[in-house]
């Protein structure tokens, strides 16, 4: 077991009075893709959004417990949210490119963080991010076209490119394929495989086959609790908890 990139201890999240997550502890490592699975409303997305404090934007949301990124407390007083989100990128459920050009979509992050000294360097960063997202060959001749003119799958890869353009350490993916067709989904899954090892990737998915295909570690959530966490191959073939077994065999969910 290598050192964990993210360690979460006793994390609970409340939306107003309602508790959405109960005392979850987990370790996320860089060399693995970690998948969160579970039925709707089980708190897996809520948990994911704790890692870059996107829950801060929801009124009434509250997080207790301790989450550390490389040993630094994410919710600590010294942690700057803007810098945290540069280190922990996020890809959302629905592709949400900015209504700007493809180039501007990718260049936005590096620009606000001042990662490029000049235009040449920015061009290089944009090309690298688009190449890593597997989109460069498809869009290199139309970088000035609107990001929203791309197909759904391309838009989602553009969003991934936008996330990796700021060179994050962790990429969070919140059901990145739920709005895509099977072919686009396959491309995203390929991409996740290629990105593995370079970034710690956490993916929330409804699709158990997808979790089995792309992840090495899987966490199963149910009603706000972490039921089981382990090797993906182990969890799917030989689940320890009864609930996990029922879920992956399709008895509920």
């Amino acid at each position: 077991m290598t050192a964990a990139k993210i360690t979460a201890r006793d994390v609970s999240v409340y939306y107003g009075e309602k508790q959405a997550l109960e005392s979850v502890s987990i370790d996320i490592a860089t060399e693995h893709v970690t998948a969160f699975i579970g039925p709707s409303g089980c708190g897996k997305s809520t948990f994911l959004r704790c890692f870059n404090r996107m829950n801060d934007t929801i009124i009434g949301a509250r997080c207790t417990g301790r989450i550390e990124l490389d040993g630094e407390d994410i919710y600590g007083a010294e942690m700057d949210v803007v810098q945290l989100r540069a280190r922990v990128g996020m890809v959302f459920q629905k592709p949400n490119p900015f209504p700007k050009s493809i180039y501007e979509n990718v260049a936005y992050g590096p620009r606000i963080h001042g990662l490029a000294m000049d235009k040449t360097e920015l061009d290089r960063i944009v090309e690298l991010a688009l190449t890593r997202a597997g989109l460069w060959d498809e869009v290199k001749d139309r970088l000035s076209e609107s990001g929203t003119s791309l197909s759904g799958g391309q838009q989602q890869r553009l969003c991934i490119a936008r996330a990796i353009a700021v060179d994050p350490e962790v990429i969070l993916m919140d059901e990145p394929c739920s709005a895509l067709d099977p072919i686009a989904t396959a491309k995203i899954e390929d991409l996740i495989n290629q990105l593995r090892g370079r970034y710690a990737i956490v993916i929330v998915t409804h699709n158990m086959q997808q979790a089995a295909r792309v992840s090495q570690r899987t966490a199963f959530f149910h009603l706000g609790k972490l039921i089981e966490f382990g090797e993906t191959s182990e969890l799917f073939t030989n689940p320890r908890a009864e609930k996990t077994k029922d879920y992956i065999t399709g008895r509920y969910g």
């Binding site: 996107m54 803007v82 990128g89 996020m90 900015f98 209504p99």
Partner: protein, 387 residues
């Protein structure tokens, strides 16, 4: 089942027909309004002139010129001649002589503006003898029609044939300028703060309710507010576009805040998430992404507010913009009138000659309004974001 289907289709047709009828009715009313306005208003833009033969010495002073014109009128058209020409007819002569100095000392025929009584008589109303005389003059070819340039360059006056709209137009322009400079930035900033940054709570709710109520406050109340604060307390100049603009800005502000908030609310939250997700600060997310996407909506709302302000009369009466001002304003602090107030003043005049001026002023106001709206539509289309 079949009968039910027939009934449903009948209901649908009925609904569509009544909708169409409503549209046709409103178009008809609008067309009637515009046509009647144009029919009586076009005369305000032209003036009738009467041919006046005269010879004036090159060195004539203004007084001498006026006398010479009066004498020439009597010489040409008898004892009534002086009633045929406008009081300011000598100015036309003076301008003609200035434009072409070779005219001086020769005998020339210059068309000068007719008096408002003759102008009315030319249209067939007034004393019978005058109408008959007007018809005779017209038949003799003495009367000609010219574009009334003075109407487009002058200001208010007592003689309807010599008044102009430029003074009120300029006043409206300055007033709108002050209003937009004050109301737009303040309104948009307030909308952004309330929508994006204000903590939700009792105070925010209270402010929201207050703003909604303010938008519904009768405009004359804002006039009273302007009178007591801007004029009495702050001692700003009376009748000035500055104060008018400030008063109208108060009136327009709630409209812009409400329109701005709903435009900002309409921006998909996913864009905010995307910006925050790559590490933009909340202000950057708003300035770089939310505001550009909301701008077309904010502008539409603001223009509606501005259009209402442009047509507003009541609050401006309160702060003294109904004064009789005969020179166009040369700044935001010099006394002036505005278009709707000018229309109100002229419509109150007894003299028949003001009727067509009133209609012409309404046409100018509508043209101003249309130009403003066209500008807004252009800007909105330019900034529109296609998702």
């Amino acid at each position: 089942m079949r009968q039910r289907l027939v009934r449903r289709y009948a209901a649908e047709r009925r609904f569509r027909r009544s909708g169409l009828a409503a549209v046709v009715l409103s178009i008809g009313v609008l067309a009637f309004l515009l046509m009647s306005m144009a029919a009586s208003g076009w005369r305000g833009f032209v003036e009738q002139r009467i041919a006046l033969p005269l010879d004036v010495a090159a060195s004539a002073s203004a007084g001498e010129m006026e006398d010479a014109v009066a004498m020439a009128a009597e010489a040409a058209y008898g004892a009534d001649g002086l009633d045929y020409i406008s009081e300011s007819a000598w100015k036309t002569v003076r301008d003609a002589f200035r434009a072409d100095s070779s005219l001086a000392g020769t005998s020339v025929v210059i068309p000068v503006p007719v008096s408002s009584t003759l102008s009315t008589a030319l249209r067939g109303s007034g004393p019978e003898t005058l109408v008959a005389a007007a018809q005779r003059l017209d038949a003799e070819g003495k009367i000609s029609t010219h574009l009334n340039t003075h109407f487009l360059t002058g200001a208010d006056g007592t003689d309807p044939s010599a008044v102009g709209i430029w003074g009120a137009f300029k006043g409206s322009l300055f007033t709108m300028l002050v209003t937009i400079v004050l109301a737009f930035p303040i309104g948009v900033l307030a909308a952004i703060y309330l929508e994006e940054f204000a903590p939700r709570g009792r105070w925010t709710d209270l402010i929201e309710v207050s703003i909604n109520n303010l938008a519904a406050v009768p405009s004359i109340i804002f006039g009273l507010l302007g009178l007591s604060i801007f004029l009495n307390t702050m001692g700003l100049p009376r009748s000035a576009p500055l104060v008018g603009g400030m008063t109208l800005a108060l009136m327009t502000l709630p409209v812009i805040v409400i329109a701005g908030r709903s435009a900002i609310k309409a921006v998909p939250p996913s864009i905010r998430d995307a910006a925050l997700g790559v590490g933009a600060s909340p202000v950057q997310a708003v300035a770089h992404h939310v505001l550009p996407a909301a701008l077309p909506g904010i502008m539409t709302g603001s223009i509606i507010g501005m259009a209402r302000a442009l047509g507003e009369t009541a609050p401006l009466l309160m702060i003294g913009m109904r004064a009789f001002i005969t020179t166009p304003p040369d700044g935001i602090s010099s006394p002036s009138s505005v278009l709707p107030v000018q229309i109100f003043l002229w419509s109150d005049e007894i003299s028949r000659g003001f009727v067509e001026k009133t209609s012409a002023a309404i046409i100018v106001l509508l043209a101003f309004l249309l130009a403003m709206n066209a500008g807004a539509v252009y800007l909105r289309n330019r900034f529109e974001i296609r998702w």
